[in-house]
């Protein structure tokens, strides 16, 4: 049996690309995917016909995506449009590259949820709880945040620190969808959606696409830009308690802890080595749960930990430097992973974290994935 840790630094991200983010009712999923793919191919300098592995996430039909791009890969997988699938896709691509199933993998994510007016609740996602009026991932996170308030005394003003810091980061990103400054008072006064959460605790819903190109570290040396290496990853699913979608009474604490510990150990780095943190922020409470699960702070202390701008680009733990899902773009983890690459390349302009060498990604969900990227 191979030790999974032997994959340390063997796989690299060599190209990243994305569309503009916003509302594009006149462009199809495939049109957006093609834009992101072209940008990523140009970024790494490969000939597109060298791509022999294809990951399609939230793309309606992988074969049509391949047809549009003129690809006949040796390895293709398709994954649904759930936020947890981004980290899962990247790890799957690593395994395909390590085994030789593919040499150059393009990972394409497309999302036209805004133009399709998806509501992410009600008839879009029927469940056994409908007769009681319970629906939507946001409501599940509201339930969890209420429990955090009850258990630890966390306040909505502390939660506001997450949204305010991440908006501040978005204001440094010219491509972010939401760049209007917000304050803690704005967060408190914002329209309630499912209390205790309000509008500024919810991710955006916008259209866009992201593409990553991955290959082995050996092949990566010949390409246009310095490679970014995947130094560690960790994974743990928690399906046993899935009867309420997107909810866990323990905030996936043990799953996040296990995935995080595995990634840290594999990469051989610790919390203090992490220069930037890319944290799946579908809803602001997820950031608090992630910080505690990963051990950036003690259990129950995330509210105090984020106070005073901790998560800002110039804070103690620069988090979601592109503005995350809350303010940059709802790319379900994908935009955070390309931001990790751009930070390590030093391409981030006003939002660049100085001397950025280690970036940590996590998605605290029923399929928790944690990835540590380093400079090649």
């Amino acid at each position: 049996m191979n030790d999974i840790k032997s994959l340390k630094n063997r796989i690299a991200v060599v190209g990243v690309g994305n569309t503009r983010y916003g509302s594009f009712p006149d462009v199809s999923d495939y049109g957006l995917g093609a834009q992101a793919f072209k940008a990523a191919i140009a970024d790494c300098g490969l000939d597109k016909n060298q791509i022999d592995g294809l990951v399609c996430c939230r793309v309606p039909y992988y074969a049509r995506m391949g047809e549009v791009l003129g690809l006949n890969p040796a390895w293709t997988i398709a994954l649904p449009g759930h936020g947890r699938m981004s980290g899962m896709s990247i790890i799957e691509a690593m395994l395909a590259l390590e085994t030789g199933a593919a040499k150059y993998v393009a990972l394409i994510y497309t999302n036209i949820g805004r133009s399709r007016r998806m509501s992410y609740g009600g008839e879009d996602s029927a469940s056994i709880w409908d007769p009681w009026g319970f629906t939507s991932p946001g409501a599940a996170h509201a339930l969890m945040f209420r429990m955090h308030m009850e258990r630890y005394g966390t306040t909505t003003r502390q939660l506001a620190e997450v949204s305010v810091a991440i908006r501040g980061n978005a204001m440094l990103n010219p491509d972010a969808v939401m760049k209007k400054p917000i304050t803690i008072d704005d967060h408190e006064a914002a329209r309630r959606i499912v209390e205790p959460l309000g509008l500024l605790d919810y991710c955006l819903v916008n259209d866009g696409a992201v593409c990553m190109i991955m290959t082995t570290a050996d092949r990566a040396r010949d390409l246009a830009k310095p490679p970014v290496l995947i130094s560690g990853f960790g994974a743990r699913d928690g399906f046993e308690r899935s009867s309420i979608s997107n909810f866990d009474a323990d905030f996936w604490f043990s799953e996040v802890r296990e995935a995080g510990t595995q990634a840290f150990q594999m990469a051989g780095v610790g919390h203090d080595d992490v220069d930037a943190f890319m944290c799946y922020d579908n809803f602001s409470p997820t950031v608090l749960f992630s910080l505690e699960g990963l051990g950036y702070c003690e259990r129950g202390e995330s509210g105090a930990f984020v106070e005073g701008g901790t998560l800002g680009v110039h804070g103690r733990l620069p988090t979601n430097t592109d503005g995350g899902h809350l303010s940059n773009s709802y790319m379900q983890g994908w935009a955070l992973n390309i931001e990790a690459v751009r930070q390590l390349r030093g391409e981030c302009g006003a939002r660049q974290v100085p001397d950025c060498e280690v970036v940590h990604y996590v998605a605290a969900t029923p399929c928790t994935r944690s990835i540590i990227y380093t400079k090649g």
């Binding site: 509501s119 609740g121 009600g122 008839e123 029927a126 056994i128 709880w129 409908d130 007769p131 009681w132 009026g133 319970f134 629906t135 939507s136 409501a139 509201a142 339930l143 969890m144 209420r146 429990m147 009850e150 258990r151 329209r191 309630r192 959606i193 499912v194 209390e195 205790p196 046993e240 009867s243 309420i244 009474a249």
Partner: protein
Amino acid sequence: MNVTYTKPLPVVDSLTKQYWENARSHRLSVQRCRDCGDRHFPPCDVCPKCLSDDQDWEVVSGRGTLLSWVRFHRAYWDGYRGELPYDVCLVKLDEGPLVLSNFSGNAPENARMGMPLRAVFDDVTEQVSLVRFAPE
């Protein structure tokens, strides 16, 4: 009873039929494995603990404690438009399973995690009764 009930109604299938029949006679039930005794809700096609096919419904005490609660200010179904805001609570039944439900009437002003609750039933249509929870 309301003949123009416009909120979501349960999709009754072979797995949930007994639950809804019990609810109609104002009895709260959870699925129980006859082999290993595991109690769970929502029901599963096989016992998630031991994979047994031999499962049944057990009427439970209706007692539980409040784990969490939220207030919806958005109507994801048209039938809720006239009733915003409304509350949903998460209850841990004394027998183990978690259930989402509503408070009977307004949310208790002293709501807190761990508050004891008891099941009451609301006949929302001629066929369907929904369990809700009131402070013990």
